[in-house]
Amino acid sequence: MADFFFGLPALVQALAKGAAVVLVIFPVAAACSMAERKVCAWIQSRPGPNRAVPPILAWIPGIGIPQRLGLFQLAADGGKFLFKEEPLPDHVHRFYYTLAPVVAMVPAFTTITVVPLGAYIGMQGRVVPLMLANVDVGMLAVFAVASLGIYSLILAGWASNSKYPFLGGVRASAQLISYELSMTLSVLPVFLWVNAPGSPGTLSLVRVVEFQSGHLHSGWGGAWFLITMPVSAFIFAVALFAETNRQPFDMPESESDLVGGFHTEYGAFKWSLFFVAEYANMIVGSAVFALLFLGGWNVLPWVPLASLLEGLHRLTGSALWLRPLVAGIISMGILGGKVLTLIFIFMWVRWTVPRFRYDQVMRLGWQKLLPLSIANLIAYTVGIYFLQG
């Protein structure tokens, strides 16, 4: 099987890998919508969606568990979005109206190409990342492509040719500009530290994780950036909430004052594309946060993946742990666990914090976060100068 795969032309291999990633992310993003409803329900002391079950499956013992978790409700909703009538209002700009949901999906899935999803220990103990494109521009590519996602919101708002969607689109662009600055400035200290003088400069996320995989005796090298740069992590997290348009920063949607914001005029499958794109953005954003500040695929601070596998190998005496496939699965599990935890925190915050008013969002972005991130950058620049001499 492996030989067959590696015998294929490089382009086919790349397409297969890309399709595999998209085929995993898409259902996970869809499942997040059900997780959102369940977390919301539990926080509000409700059971949440727990009724739907196909009658032909109802006799299976134990079917109650997925039923009570709302998995069939998720399938029913997905099926409904797929098969219901596609409304196309008369007053919209048809081409751009249809284009906008596609434009939403493309950047959401494109960013995944430069995000490492795991790693295995290759020859000579080298850590090889599992990713679609191991490029040096890593973080820059994520910022550049993720920002394109905002065009879909603006496009949807404008193409809808209606008052509230337009306001939603305008707010989306204003919010993105305000928080993109703080977000970019907050990760600069990380890369300042990673790119020590003398080493080849890189913006790769893999390098950031490698930097965080040190042992206890390697001092700061093993500490996650969350420990060494809590302010950066905090600013990045807040900006991430704003960038993914999550509550308390749901300005583009603003259900309470803009009906549905940019997607007011959308329905059926086009609407669900926006929805999935939002969750895909969340997944990628959480993955980037985990890689930058939570040590990526390292299980604990000062315990890198290689030591974990070696420890397991010594503990059980089984050589199984040293196989690249097992290492890959474990590393993906660790990173996946971190991503899912972060997504849960996204939901937890959403159902806790009341949403900001538009002027509060702008004030927080420009008057609080931006000066804070600039001060943070200056402080760390000076600190890193003295640390690395």
Binding site: V39, I43, Q44, S45, R46, W348, V349, W351, T352, V353
Partner: protein, 180 residues
């Protein structure tokens, strides 16, 4: 009463960052997240009905299994939304049912009109109509939502009787030698 002066202190730095409040709020929601659900999952779980609950009006029989309603039509006349329609009739007679002279030939309560006010129960001199615990009425047509006499007795069943009005009256009459 002394005047208590409440100090209006400015917000502290921690409070102005919102963060303690934010984490406090998240702690509260976390407690709800892991706490029990407050929802009653209705068709499987039913609420406890308190005494005196005014559910669907029903007709009841006395402990001897006899109809109590004597079709006096007071409930029909008192009913504010005019949900009750009674066709009076006389009792066929025979053993066990000779305590009264009349009984309803037909007794219809239109549940699409009923407002569950309980005036019928209050006005009934025979204690024959009661608003009991049944609260869930549904049907596929308007006709189905009219409770006829047999359905009303089926819903009502038999309730204990505290007075045995007619037996007491009959016994008193016999004790007095046939005089009222």
């Amino acid at each position: 009463m002394a005047i208590i002066e409440v100090k209006r202190r400015p917000l502290t730095f921690a409070e102005r960052t919102y963060l303690p409040q934010l984490f406090g709020g998240m702690w509260t929601t976390l407690k709800h997240l892991v706490g029990p659900s407050e929802t009653m999952e209705y068709p499987e779980q039913r609420p406890a009905i308190p005494p005196g609950y005014r559910g669907v009006p029903t007709l009841v029989k006395d402990p001897h299994g006899r109809e109590k309603c004597v079709s006096c039509q007071l409930c029909e006349f008192v009913c504010p939304p005019k949900a009750i329609r009674i066709t009076p009739g006389s009792v066929a007679g025979g053993a066990g049912v000779d305590n009264v002279e009349k009984a309803p030939q037909a007794f219809d309560i239109d549940m699409l009109r009923c407002i569950y006010c309980g005036l019928c129960e209050e006005v009934c001199p025979e204690e024959a109509i009661f608003l009991q615990n049944q609260y869930s009425m549904s049907g596929y047509s308007r006709a189905e939502m009219v409770n006829h006499k047999d359905r009303l007795y089926e819903l009502g069943g038999t309730l204990p009787d505290k007075h045995f009005k007619w037996e007491v009256k009959k016994a008193a009459e016999e004790a007095a030698g046939g005089h009222h």
